[in-house]
Structures are given as C-alpha cells and as structure tokens.
C-alpha cells in the first residue's frame, strides 16, 4: 500500500473515461446496490467492486459510491480525518474535479455530497445533503468471527450475543467499554453495523441524521446505508451506558466546546494544544471572531495561519 491516494497523471492523460470515471454498466450495478442498501438499513449489500486508479485502503469504496450518485449540479466536499487539506482529500477531490468537472468546496454547508474518512462534520447536515463514508472493514463481527458464512448467518438470525460478550469483557477488564473507534451500532432496531473508523464521539450524529448516509467498502465489496431520521443506537448495557469522549478544554484556536479535538505539537520543547479536528468548522468560527485560549500564542498563531493539518500528531489515526 502506498502512502497516499495519489492518482497517477496517466489516468487523466488517457482521456477516454466516462463522466465520473466509472462506465454506465458499473454505475447501474452500484446504484442498484445502493437502493437495496437504503431499503434494508444497516445491511451490507455485496457489490462487484471495480478496479480504481487508487489503491484499496484509500477510499475506493467511497469513490465508487460517489461516482455512482454524482451529477453535474452537485457540489462535492472531500474530507479526511476532518480535514479538506490532507494529501488524500486533495487527491480524491482532484479526481472528481477532473473526471466529472463538478464544483467542489471546503464549506460543509455548501456541499450536496460529502465524502469522508474518519469524521463527520461538526455542523449538522441537512436533508439536502448526502454523506458518503469510506469504509475499510464493513463487518462489525469480523474480528469475532473470521468466516463470512458465519457472520452472514449471525446477521440473518439477529444473533449478536458474541458482540455483547466482547463489549462486556471490555468492561470486566477496563471498567468501561474501551472501544473508541468503529464503535458498533444497531440500526433501526435490527442490524448491528460498523459506522466505519470514526471516533465514537461521532456516533450520536448518525442517529436520526437528516442527511442520507451511504457507506462504501471497496476491498471488501460491500455497500450499506442509513436513511434519514433512522434510529441508530450505540451498543451498551443498562449499567454501562454508551458515553462519548469528553474533552476538558475547548479548542485552542477557536474556543469551540463539545467538538472533537486533535492534539497538535507547537514546538520541540513539548508544547501542545488541542484544536478542532474539523478544520472547516474551526476556520469558520475564527472568521466569525471566536478566539480560543491559545489564539494569542505565537506558535499557535503560526499554525493557525499555515493550516493546522500538518501539525496534527495523527492521534486520530488508527
């Protein structure tokens, strides 16, 4: 696997590709899978994933879903761990700018389709928006049961005892449920689903979200979906209810509270601060005049002006 989703220029130089790269036959097949996925919320629909001009693991599932739904009038936002500016986000955004010539944006509110890896924007999404997730491992039961025939049976029988046992072992060992990413949820009181490797902080956002959620796993060849306003419950126990991560400080740059924060390194003497993981959200707040406790710090100001993404310690990376 290479370091980034860098797409070779030869892909564009060949010139002979369809709108949004995929051929129409492939789009139809993916579209049918999407419709079945929406009709069966949380169920993983198998699909014939295609070779894409980027390696598996860098969003091929999300890219195929986006390519199948995208139209000329759409405005696309591409985020990677909350940021529009990482190499992967830039590369995938460029892919659709070139192959579909659609408008792109970094502003959450302006986008009609948002493709994401690892985060959900802090700003609530609307019913006119579609959120497309890049998923590496779609099967929440896979690490408990490696055999596909068995996990399929467990989903069919709604037999999720193993998953509860695993979470309870967590509690016995740690005193709490230690899972912080890809925290399993139950969709529409039926299917246990992996919300992709987003931090569990984002789980409440997918419960009864106004926007349609589509999940694409390229290597594992699965598509699943959550329709708008669908009940999504994080698995827990009566005596150990689900809790999201809490941050005891606000964002150093914009002062936002109750948002997901990343740690950034300020200097080589161990200076650190916590800033919004959602960089568009943070920039918009600062543009509106919100100031965090570190905003006056010269090192923090430098990071704030050159972009915070390069400075993140990568703590959100699994």
């Amino acid at each position: 696997m290479t370091d980034t989703a860098q797409i070779p220029d030869s892909v564009y130089e060949q010139g002979e590709y369809n709108f949004a790269y995929l051929d129409e036959q492939t789009k139809r097949m993916i579209r049918r899978a999407i419709l079945k996925g929406i009709a069966i919320p949380g169920y993983q629909v198998p699909f014939a994933s295609r070779e894409m001009p980027m390696p598996y693991g860098w969003g091929t599932g999300g890219v195929q879903v986006t390519a199948a739904i995208l139209g000329r009038d759409d405005c696309l936002k591409m985020i990677d761990q909350g940021s529009d500016d990482t190499t992967n986000a830039v590369s995938l955004r460029g892919f659709f700018e070139k192959t579909a010539e659609v408008r792109t944006t970094c502003e959450t509110a302006e986008a009609t389709i948002i493709q994401t890896r690892h985060r959900i924007p802090e700003k609530p999404l609307t019913g006119d928006q579609i959120l497309v997730f890049q998923v590496p491992i779609p099967e929440p039961l896979r690490f408990l049961e490696p055999r596909e025939t068995e996990t399929r049976k467990m989903h069919a029988l709604e037999d999720y005892g193993l998953m509860h046992v695993k979470l309870y072992e967590d509690i016995a060992k740690n005193g709490h449920i230690a899972t912080t990413y890809a925290y399993p949820v139950k969709v529409n009181d039926r299917y246990v689903m992996d919300p992709s490797p987003t931090p569990k902080f984002d789980n409440p956002k997918i419960d009864r979200m106004a926007a349609l959620q589509l999940y694409g796993a390229g290597r594992e060849k699965r598509i699943y979906a959550i329709p708008p306003y669908t009940k999504v419950k994080s698995l827990d126990f009566e005596d150990y209810p689900f809790e999201i991560q809490k941050f005891d400080k606000p964002c150093g740059l914009c002062g936002a509270e109750n948002v997901y924060l990343d740690e950034v390194i300020l200097d080589d003497r161990g200076g650190r601060m916590f800033v919004c993981s959602d960089s568009d959200y943070c920039e918009e707040r600062r543009a509106d005049g919100h100031l965090g406790p570190m905003a006056a710090d010269p090192a923090a100001a430098r990071i704030s002006s050159t972009g915070i993404d390069g400075a993140k310690t990568g703590e959100t990376v699994r």
Binding site: R28, L35, G37, I38, I40, I69, G71, K153, P228
Partner: protein, 218 residues
C-alpha cells in the same frame, strides 16, 4: 420473427406492415440516467415523498409510460431479469423497446425477476408472488414498479419507519383493494420483502420494505 427467407424488399413490405421505428432511448444517457437514479434514490430514502422525474423526452410504446421507461433504462440491464404483467407482455413493441435499450431478459415467472413492471396495477398479482429475498441475502428480492400512478387519491395511509421523521401520509391509486394489507404483510417480514416504486406522470414515490403501514384514523 420471420420464418421464410426474404427475397427482396418489395415482397417484405407487401407481406407485413412496416415495423414502426423503435422509440429512442435517453437523449443524454449518462446524465438522464443519473438524474432518474437520484429521484429513485431520494424516493426510497424518503418513503412516500414525491420526487420529480424528467423522462428525458422518452416516447416508449404504450402501455409503457415515459417515467416507467426512464426507470427501466436507469436500473435494468442484462443482469436484471424483468417480469411484465399481461398488458405489457402483450405488446411486442414494449418488449422490443426494453430488450433493445436495456438488454434485460424478460422472464415469465414473477419469482425469477429482479424487477417487475406492472402496467395495470389495479389488478396486479399478489406481492408475495415476487422474490422476497432470503434471510441471509435480503437484497436479492424484487423491486416492483407500478405504472400510471396518481398521487392525488383521497384515501391515504400513514407511513412510519426509516427515512420518515415522524409519520407521513401517502396516497396512491390505482392499487388493488387488498394492496395495503399486502404491503403491511411485506414490511412485517423485514429484512426480507420487496420494494415498491410508484411511477406517475412526472413524479415517482417509493415504499421500501422497511416502511410500516399504520392504521389510519378516520
């Protein structure tokens, strides 16, 4: 199908009336299909809501309608066996149109179909006749498309479920008298069950299997 070899054009034109030219497909296959798909996706994601479909100037042979033809051209291909009800099956022109533009094999058993087109929905066969999918592969069930639907009917049902914020009123006609009982039974076997798309003049609506039909207060 002709059985005797043709000797010349004059003889052919005397023997059989000239076949009408096959109606054209989408003017812009890529973008017309994309727009129609988004309408279908929004309809299934928001059960009971009406979504505009521009049939892209399609003029399919009757009783196939422009909106149903747009859905067929958007969703069907050689991977999707399609079943037609009697009025559609009786039209060679309809079958020729669908074969030419989609390549979908036309099947005579409803249970073999991935998609069904119903030209006379007032007398449609029971929903249980179609492939309901299996417990392990519920996605393998049929999608049934009802033609000629009018969304202005007085009698409404109340919908609840994924894609619906609280509850929603929905009315459609024509459907058989037992239709709503069948739809309710369909949703009770979730995650198995068929998905319904209602094709009107310029709009579509959908009821996926996840939608529950609530008793309506009078």
């Amino acid at each position: 199908m002709t059985t005797a070899p043709e000797t010349n054009a004059t003889q052919e034109s005397r023997k059989t009336p000239a076949t009408p030219p096959l109606a054209a497909g989408f003017q812009d296959p890529v973008h017309d299909a994309q727009a129609c798909f988004r309408a279908a996706m929004n309809a299934i994601a928001r059960p009971g809501t009406r979504q505009a479909v521009d049939a892209g100037g399609l003029t399919p042979p009757a009783p196939l309608t422009p909106v149903a033809a747009a859905l067929a051209l958007t969703l069907l291909d050689y991977d999707t066996p399609v079943w037609l009800d009697k009025p559609l099956m009786a039209s060679d022109a309809v079958k020729a149109f669908l074969r030419f533009h989609t390549g979908a094999p036309i099947v005579s058993e409803p249970v073999e179909a991935a998609f069904a087109l119903v030209g006379n929905p007032g007398q449609m066969i029971p929903l249980a006749s179609f492939n309901q999918g299996s417990a392990e592969y519920p996605d393998r069930s049929a999608t049934v498309i009802l033609l000629g639907q009018d969304f202005g009917a007085v009698q409404a049902v109340t919908l609840q479920g994924p894609g619906i914020q609280d509850s929603a009123a929905f009315s459609v006609s024509p459907v058989p008298p037992v239709f709503w009982e069948q739809v309710a039974a369909n949703s009770r076997q979730f995650p198995r069950g068929i998905d319904l798309i209602f094709a009107g003049d310029a709009e579509i609506a959908a009821l996926p299997r996840s939608t529950r039909i609530m008793p309506t207060e009078v």
